[in-house]
Structure formats: structure tokens, C-alpha cells
């Protein structure tokens, strides 16, 4: 999925922009985690998890990083 990582990063940041509206950042992170778990295909989750671990989540928002750190592939 490497060639699509930019797309996945953009998608993750767009999602985090929505959940980030919640002043309680724990609720925001959990909301985003749940959204990713329920709507992203396994290969997409694997790719974004790998991007977080191998490239320190370059380009991802802080909330996106937190949420992605909580999902499994």
C-alpha cells in the first residue's frame, strides 16, 4: 500500500479533524479509533499502522497518531 500512503494519511487527518472537535481528547481518540476499526479494510489498517511505526506517522495529526496506535489490523 506504499504508493497510497499519502492518501491514507490524508484520509486519517480528515477523520481526525472531525473528532478533534470534542474538547475531551480521550473521547476524540476513541471515536476515531472506532471509526477506523469499523470502516477501514485490513490492508489499509496495516499500511497506516506500519506508517506510524516505521515512519513515526509522518504527516499524521496528533489525534490521528493516537487513534492509529490503538487499532489492530
Amino acid at each position: 500500500m506504499s504508493s497510497n500512503i499519502d492518501t491514507l494519511v490524508r484520509m486519517a487527518n480528515d477523520i481526525s479533524n472531525f473528532f478533534n472537535a470534542d474538547p475531551d481528547k480521550e473521547i476524540a481518540a476513541e471515536g476515531m479509533r472506532n471509526h477506523l476499526a469499523k470502516s477501514w479494510d485490513v490492508r489499509m489498517r496495516k499500511a497506516i499502522i506500519a506508517h506510524l511505526s516505521e515512519h513515526n506517522g509522518e504527516g499524521l495529526s496528533p489525534l490521528a497518531k493516537t487513534a492509529i496506535s490503538r487499532i489492530t489490523a
Partner: protein
């Protein structure tokens, strides 16, 4: 089967609950107050002769044929304009009345051609019927002057206007005004010179007429007559079915001669359309038998190869073996498919079942991905169900109509006509749209507020409206307290009260004057029953889901939900968007909108389907394209969908399709996607199969076969054959059995069956034990969330990343037009091209002048992802800085320019915001040249199949 016509009661039904007792010809009658004598008589089978009366329009009292005598009354009143009263005694037949009627008919016939035997209306002419009814045997008059030599207007592609046969009853004029609300027709002149005139003495095609057919339907003679009837004669039987165009889901009588359609006539008992129609459903059915229909299965190894016609068995076995080969080589998740909103519920259900059970993954998606997927998400989250809350009739109880990002008079014309009727009755109107859509100002309609926002700022607008509601104390506290989740509401109230959302602070973002925003918010919150109707101008944005949530928040905060006249109403684009979503076409949800990982649901489906199902969400359409280019997605089964034209950034889509090893397309034409296919399975039009469609108001309506499938099989049968070849058995003998399975699996469908649909003519889900005849209005007692409470969610405005720059200084927004439907594959193959032969770029005079552009000039539209060329139309319908086009013609390449930006929650593309530059050019774009060459090559490869 027979041609039995819908009964005409002469005047509209009265909705009064007060009942009146009277006597007609000695028979006792009870009818609602306000009923005409004519209708009361018809209700007990007494047919009073009539010509100018028909029950689709208000009575007029001009022909004098329907006169009656009333005991104790003076003269001979017209029964159509005389209301009944308690104790009334009416005589409809005696010698005096017969003499009057015969005299009236004699005058009519003295100026009417006596060519009944060769007239196209022979056998279906009310004038002929009435001449017989009154016993006319001779005409004593020898007129000095007649209209018999009047010139026939044949300009409209679908019907003719023959003034020599016109009796000036004004039924057409009144139908145009009352039913359609276009006011295109008038009676020109006075006395003997009176004549029906479209516009200012224009021909029909050049006039304001929208060809809805209401005038043709109302005409009692052959004056307004379908050309198909003139050409083929009168139909001999009729079958009631449902239109396959937009999400209104109009009911039609397909009037037939054997297996040939003579005409489609809107069905009076249709609960979505009440006997009305638009130019597409009424007339544009010719595509079904167009010469471009492909009726033989075809295969080829690569898209550079000629197609080869093969047997059904060979095509199905080849398709199945290719999919199995790909899965064996690249893994179970390397294939998937797409259902279509143009197919029936039963077909969508079977395709997703095949993918989940036979392919063994959840890689199924549907065209709702690119239109109303944010509706599914946003309304499910807030209200608890992925659907609109009302029936269409609800609008007739609405006091404040809010139209957001929708153009009902073009996109949903029959509902648009109903909405216009309510607006003419005095309902207020708020339009939120960047363009001057027709509703903003049309005959006898003027919007109270047109919030002409900048494209891409929807969420800032809905937040500003909500801010006013909260800041000015307009919240319906009782409703919110009783019906909503208070924790979420209190959080939302604090969020939205922040002054960053105020109209004054968002004015620079939205472009809407703060005073207008405040006034509109007050009107919505305090003007009585307020209903929001929205379309793709809401959903097709990077914040599409946020906007849907914002709409639901606003409706709940003001208590505008859960009863007639209010609600949240997504206007679905295609005929079965609601249904295809209900049927489990999304990759994360099984039928009935239940997540694939939900244990109870998963176990239920595994048991009933006898299959091992994945609990992982599958790929969405745009993810499939990305995965194809990445090499992990290699095969696809696409039924009735044209992703190579309808999806954004089609250069990307084309590359993805070319990267796949097996693309199976099931369609009635070699559509744009089929040009990239390796297997073509010929589909059946909606006229060739049984099934159901579910419209925008959750109404499940029957689709009935009126002719045999041209290729031999209905689409559900083809899917079944493919599934069996893949090794997953399906053995349905009729779509009713598929619906029975659906009803057993989806709780909100538990009460649905073909028998129920036939009995009720249609039924709105939820239809279950608690609501055995369906549910017109949802959330009346509690919301459909687990705890029964409506959920408020926070909706921060996040500007789109698609920015205007000096290089791309204008915003392109795309949409649709009345004459065409979606990618145009159907309507382009009808005479509807007379109105819209090509996609046009609308540009404001200021922007055109800056660029030296004149009307009809060729202009380049260039975005960050592509370039195409169209002709320009200079118009103030668009605001400065905004340009607009449609996407009905593939060679226009509207989606060459749209980008990959998409809704955060659902990946619904941001069709409505693309930064572009417009320049005057002399030739087509490089993409268009490539497209022309590619298409010519593909058509040549198709021709080789037919020749081989």
C-alpha cells in the same frame, strides 16, 4: 390483462373529515364536505357527462355538459363546481338535461374534425365518448368559420399539438399550472379566437414547457397526443410498475401492445407521484429497445482484444474461473464488486450476497458511495436510521420549506412539482445554494431567503443557523428534554453557542449577509412546521457527513422532527439509492445497516446463508481503485454501474480498471466501464424483470416485467448463475423468494412481502409487526437509536483543502439537469437530447468578460488533475467566481477535472468543489482526443464481436 383506465371522478378528492349525506337520482350518498356533486355521483357509479372536468385539476365549469338539477335550486348548475350539502337532492338525468347536453355537444362537434375512424384517439377520446353518452345524432349547424385548418405543432419529440381538435376546455392549461406549476400554457385570444398557446405563441419545444406530460394526460381529445400512439395505435393492456429514473419512484402504467410499450402513463394510485410524471419517466423509455442494447454475452482476454460472443454458459464459467484463479493467486481479498442503485433491491441483495458468501470477503460497494453515503452515516449516527424521516406528502403540511444543495425541479421533478404546489399555497421558502436554482424565483414562487453561500462552506452555514437558534433562545427545550440524549445536547449547545459560529463571524467565510442568516434561522425555528430537503450539494463535500449531522442537530434542536410537515429529507438521486443501501451494499454493513462485525448479526447471516463470512470491513470503491493500482485488487464484478464515467478523477479510475486482470460488467449497454472489461454479461432493463425499488421516502414499490428480457435472463438470474458457477449455490425461482429472505433477515422489513406490496400498492419501511402497513413518518415516539434518544454531535467547520489560487481562481461545481439522468447512458439514447445535446459550462458574465468569453465559445476547464473542453453559457444563475456543469455526456469529461478529495467519514467525492481556470480555446483537450480514439477503438472491437 386489460387496458382498464384509472377511474376519473371528475374533481379532486376532498380531505375534509366532516361527512355530508345527500341523495343523487334517488340513491343515498355520503361523502366528505367539499366534494363536488360530480364526484359524489361518480363515487356510487353515476357518471355525469363531462368534458372540462378531470379529477387531477380543480373544477372549471366551462363546458356546461355536466349540468344537473338540484331540488329547490334555480337553473342547471354545473355538477363539477357545485359542492354537496346536507340533505341535497340531485337529478342527473332527465329530458331537459339531455337536451341541454346534446345542444352543447352539437356546438362542440360543429367545429371538430369528423375523422374519428382515423383519429389517433379513436377508442380513447372523451369527446367521442360524450357524443355517444348524450346521444348526438346530427349536427344542424353549418359554420361559417372553423378551426379545422389550424396547423399542427410537432416540435416536441414526444407529443403533438393539433389545435384543429382542441375544444379549449383548458384542462391542459390547468394541468400545467396546478399539477406541474410551470405555467407554460395559456389561453390566448377571446371568444372564437381562443386557443391554447405555449408561452408567447411559441412552439412547444421552444416554450417553457418541461414536457412533464400533464397536459397530454389531461387532454380529453387527440389535441395533445403521444407520437408513439399516433405511430402505433392504442395500447391493449397495461401493467403497473415503477419508474427506473430518479429517487421519487413514480408509479406508472406501462401501456402495451403485446411486448411493445406504447406509452408510460403516470398511475393515479401511485403514492409517490399521485398521477404526475416528468419528461424522463413519461417519455424517455426508448432506450430500453435501443439498437445499442447488447444481448449476447461476450468475453476477451485483454481490453486490446476484440470481443467474442459466447454462450451464457461459457461466459459465466469463464467469469467464475477467472475470479477463482485470481483469488487463488492473489488471495481471497483480491476481488470484489459493485451493486447499482439502478438495479432492484433483490438484485443488489444477491450481488452483495455473492461477494460476501461466494468471494468470501466484504469488498462490495455501490454508487451511493458517490452520492448519499454521508446521509447513511450522518442520519444513522444522530437519528439512528440511515434514511429520510418523512413521506413526500408531508410537504403539504409544511410551513417553512428549506432546500439545501438540491434542485428538485430538475433532479426530482415530480416531487418538485408537489413542493411548488405547497409554496404557491403560501409556505415560506429558504434556499441554501450557490446557484439561482429555479425555485428561487419561478411563476408564483419567490424564496423568502436565498442564502447564496460559497461552495464548500455548508458546515459554516448550518453552524451559523444553529448558533442563532441557541443564542436567541429558540431551542425547543421540551422536545430536546423529552427525546434527545441530554449529555450530547449540552455539549453541543456549549459548542455551537461559541461566537465563532455566529452569522457575523462566519459571513466572511460563507458570503451570506449575517442579517439574512439570522432571519432565516428565526423563520426555520419559529415559522411552524419546518422541513429540510437536501441533495448532493450537501453530501458531495469533504464535510458531507458533518453537514448531514448538522442538519439533524438543527432539526432536533428546534423540534422539527417526528411528525407530519417537518423532518430531514434526503432527496436520493437514483431510483434505488435507498434500496441498494438497505440491501447491504456497503462494505462495512450487512443488509439492514448492521456492522459486519456485530456478532449476533454475523451469526444470523452465516446460518441463513450457510456460509463463512468475514467480520472485516471491505474496500470502498475509491479504496478498490487505490488497491488495484497497488496490485492487491485484481478482479471485479460490476452490475449496472458505470464507475468509469460517474466517479471522480476518472483518469485514476481508468488506470485502476486497466490494472485489473478480470473486470466483469453486467449492463444493458457497452457503457464506459465496459470498455475496460474482460467479460460482458448483458443485463435487463427495468421493463424486463420483476423486483422492487425503494425510493427516497423508504417506499418499496413493485417493478413488474412487461416484456421478456432481450438477452434471455433477468439480472438476478445472471447473478445466481455466476454464484452457482463460483460454487456457492443459489436456487431462487422468483424475486419474491429473494424478498422473503430479505424480510426474514432485516428487522425493518419483517412485514414486507410481494403479497403485501400488491395489496397496498407500495409500503414504506419500517414494516414489521408493530407497523404492518408501513411507516410514513419516522421517529414519532422515539428515535431508532438503541436508547431511543436523538444524539447531537459536534460539527466543527473545516475548510476544504481544495483552494482557489491565481492559477485556479474559480470554483467548479457539478450537478444534473431535468432532461438527463446520471451518466446519461439511458437518456442520451432517447429524444431527451433535444433539450440537452451536450454538457455546457455555466459562467457568470463578469468572469466571462474577464476572459474574453462569449456565449457558445469553446472553453478549457483546467483543474489540478485534468483538463477538458466544453461550450460556454454565460448566465447569472451562477455567482461570480463559480462555474457549473453537468456530467451526462462522457465525451465532456466533467469528471476528468474533479479531484480525489472526499468526505472524511465515507469517501463520498467532493464533486461540488474543484478549483479551476477557464480559458477560451479553439480545440478539444488532449484527454478528449484520447477518449475519442479509445472509444472508436473499443467500438471497433465490439463490432468485430458482432461480425465474428
Amino acid at each position: 390483462m386489460s387496458i382498464d383506465k384509472d377511474k376519473d371522478y371528475g374533481t379532486p378528492v376532498s380531505t375534509s373529515t366532516e361527512m355530508v349525506n345527500l341523495e343523487i337520482d334517488g340513491f343515498k350518498v355520503t361523502a366528505p364536505a367539499g366534494t363536488s356533486v360530480m364526484r359524489a355521483a361518480a363515487s356510487i357509479g353515476i357518471e355525469i357527462p363531462k368534458l372540462c372536468a378531470t379529477d387531477s385539476v380543480e373544477p372549471f365549469g366551462s363546458c356546461r355538459l355536466c349540468v344537473v338539477q338540484v331540488e329547490g335550486g334555480r337553473g342547471l348548475p354545473a355538477s363539477c363546481t357545485t359542492p354537496i350539502w346536507e340533505g341535497m337532492k340531485v337529478i342527473t338525468q332527465n329530458q331537459k338535461l339531455a337536451d341541454v347536453r346534446r345542444g352543447v355537444m352539437e356546438l362542440y362537434i360543429s367545429d371538430h374534425p369528423l375523422d374519428c375512424l382515423t383519429c389517433s384517439a379513436n377508442g380513447d377520446c372523451e369527446l367521442q365518448d360524450m357524443a355517444g353518452a348524450v346521444g348526438l345524432r346530427e349536427v344542424r349547424y353549418t359554420p361559417v368559420e372553423t378551426h379545422l385548418g389550424a396547423t399542427k405543432d410537432t416540435s416536441n419529440p414526444y407529443f403533438t399539438f393539433d389545435p384543429s381538435k382542441c375544444i379549449v376546455c383548458s384542462r391542459c392549461v390547468r394541468a400545467c399550472e396546478e399539477t406541474q406549476g410551470t405555467f407554460a400554457l395559456t389561453i390566448d385570444g377571446r371568444g372564437f379566437d381562443s386557443k391554447v398557446s405555449p408561452g408567447q405563441n411559441e412552439d412547444f419545444l421552444s416554450s417553457e414547457c418541461v414536457s412533464c406530460g400533464a397536459c397530454v394526460q389531461a387532454c380529453p381529445t387527440a389535441t395533445l397526443m403521444e407520437k408513439s400512439v399516433i405511430e402505433n395505435g392504442q395500447p391493449e393492456h397495461a401493467i403497473v410498475t415503477t419508474c427506473a429514473y430518479c429517487g421519487v419512484g413514480c408509479s406508472f402504467r406501462a401501456e402495451m401492445k403485446g411486448e411493445q410499450i406504447i406509452r408510460m402513463v403516470p398511475h393515479k394510485d401511485g403514492k409517490a407521484n399521485h398521477g404526475h410524471s416528468c419528461v424522463k419517466g413519461r417519455f424517455a423509455f426508448g432506450y430500453a429497445t435501443h439498437k445499442d442494447r447488447i444481448t449476447k454475452p461476450m468475453i476477451r482476454a485483454s481490453i486490446q482484444d476484440p470481443w467474442k460472443e459466447v454462450s451464457w454458459e461459457e461466459a459465466i464459467n469463464h467469469a467464475a474461473s477467472e475470479m477463482k484463479r485470481i483469488q487463488a493467486k492473489y488471495g481471497k481479498d483480491s476481488v470484489g464488486g459493485a451493486t447499482s442503485s439502478r438495479c432492484t433491491n433483490e438484485e443488489a441483495y444477491l450481488v452483495q450476497k455473492l461477494i460476501r458468501a461466494a468471494f468470501g470477503n466484504n469488498n462490495v460497494d455501490t454508487c451511493a458511495r458517490v452520492c448519499h453515503s454521508p446521509t447513511g452515516y450522518g442520519l444513522k449516527q444522530t437519528l439512528g436510521e440511515s434514511s429520510g424521516t418523512q413521506d413526500f406528502d408531508s410537504v403539504m403540511k409544511t410551513d417553512v420549506v428549506v432546500v439545501v444543495g438540491a434542485n428538485p425541479t430538475d433532479g426530482h421533478p415530480v416531487f418538485g412539482a408537489m413542493m411548488k404546489k405547497r409554496l404557491r399555497q403560501g409556505a415560506k421558502l429558504i434556499v441554501i445554494d450557490p446557484r439561482n436554482i429555479d425555485l428561487v424565483k419561478s411563476p408564483h414562487i419567490q424564496s423568502d431567503y436565498h442564502l447564496k453561500l460559497r461552495p464548500g462552506t455548508n458546515v459554516a452555514v448550518i453552524n451559523a443557523l444553529a448558533h442563532v437558534v441557541v443564542a436567541e433562545g429558540l431551542v425547543d427545550e421540551a422536545f430536546v428534554n423529552a427525546r434527545c440524549d441530554m449529555t450530547s445536547f449540552n455539549k453541543w449547545r456549549a459548542f455551537i453557542a461559541d461566537t465563532r459560529h455566529s452569522p457575523e463571524n462566519t459571513e466572511s467565510i460563507t458570503g451570506i449577509p449575517a442579517a439574512d442568516m439570522r432571519a432565516a434561522a428565526r423563520l426555520y425555528a419559529t415559522g411552524g412546521n419546518a422541513a429540510i430537503y437536501y441533495g448532493l450539494g450537501v453530501t458531495e463535500h469533504s464535510q458531507g457527513s458533518t453537514m448531514v449531522i448538522g442538519i439533524a442537530n438543527l432539526a432536533m434542536a428546534t423540534g422539527n422532527i417526528g411528525r407530519e410537515g417537518v423532518g430531514v429529507n434526503p432527496l436520493r438521486g437514483q431510483n434505488n439509492v435507498q434500496g441498494s443501501c438497505d440491501m447491504g451494499s456497503f462494505p462495512h454493513e450487512l443488509p439492514g445497516y448492521r456492522h459486519v462485525s456485530d456478532q449476533e448479526t454475523h451469526e444470523l447471516f452465516e446460518k441463513v446463508w450457510n456460509a463463512t463470512l468475514s467480520t472485516n470491513p471491505g474496500l470502498r470503491l475509491p479504496n478498490m481503485f487505490d488497491a488495484a493500482l497497488d496490485g492487491s485488487y485484481k478482479g471485479m464484478y460490476i452490475e449496472g454501474e458505470d464507475i468509469a464515467q460517474s466517479d471522480p478523477n476518472i483518469g485514476h479510475v481508468h488506470a485502476a480498471l486497466q490494472a485489473m486482470e478480470c473486470v466483469i460488467v453486467q449492463d444493458i449497454f457497452l457503457n464506459e466501464t465496459a470498455k475496460f472489461a474482460h467479460v460482458f454479461l448483458p443485463g435487463a432493463s427495468f421493463l424486463e424483470k420483476d423486483g422492487t425499488f425503494t425510493n427516497a421516502e423508504r417506499r418499496i414499490s413493485p417493478v413488474r416485467k412487461v416484456m421478456r428480457p432481450l438477452a434471455g435472463y433477468a439480472d438476478w438470474e445472471v447473478t445466481q448463475m455466476l454464484s452457482n458457477a463460483l460454487g456457492y449455490p443459489m436456487n431462487y425461482s422468483h424475486p419474491s423468494e429473494i424478498m422473503d429472505e430479505i424480510a426474514s433477515l432485516i428487522p425493518t422489513f419483517h412485514g414486507v412481502s410481494y403479497a403485501k406490496i400488491d395489496e397496498l400498492t407500495s409500503v414504506q419501511w419500517p414494516c414489521d409487526e408493530a407497523a404492518p402497513t408501513g411507516t410514513p413518518i419516522m421517529h414519532t415516539q422515539e428515535f431508532m437509536r438503541d436508547n431511543g434518544q436523538g444524539l447531537f454531535m459536534l460539527t466543527e467547520y473545516v475548510p476544504t483543502s481544495e483552494k482557489i489560487t491565481p492559477m485556479f481562481p474559480l470554483i467548479l461545481t457539478t450537478g444534473r439537469i431535468l432532461a438527463h439522468y446520471n451518466v446519461g447512458a439511458q437518456t442520451r439514447r432517447t429524444d431527451n437530447v433535444a433539450w440537452h445535446p451536450e454538457d455546457i459550462l455555466e459562467i457568470h458574465p463578469h468572469d466571462a468578460q474577464d476572459r474574453g468569453i462569449n456565449n457558445h465559445d469553446k472553453v478549457s476547464i483546467k483543474s489540478r488533475v485534468g483538463e477538458t473542453v466544453m461550450h460556454a453559457l454565460i448566465t447569472e444563475r451562477v455567482q461570480p467566481g463559480v462555474v457549473y456543469t453537468t456530467f451526462h455526456h462522457p465525451e465532456s469529461g466533467a469528471n476528468v477535472i474533479t479531484t480525489d478529495n472526499s468526505d472524511w467519514a465515507t469517501n463520498c467525492p467532493e464533486y461540488k468543489v474543484t478549483a479551476v481556470q477557464i480559458t477560451k480555446v479553439m480545440q478539444q483537450s488532449a484527454w478528449q482526443e484520447e477518449y475519442r480514439s479509445f472509444t472508436e477503438n473499443q467500438l471497433d472491437l465490439l463490432a468485430q464481436a458482432a461480425n465474428g
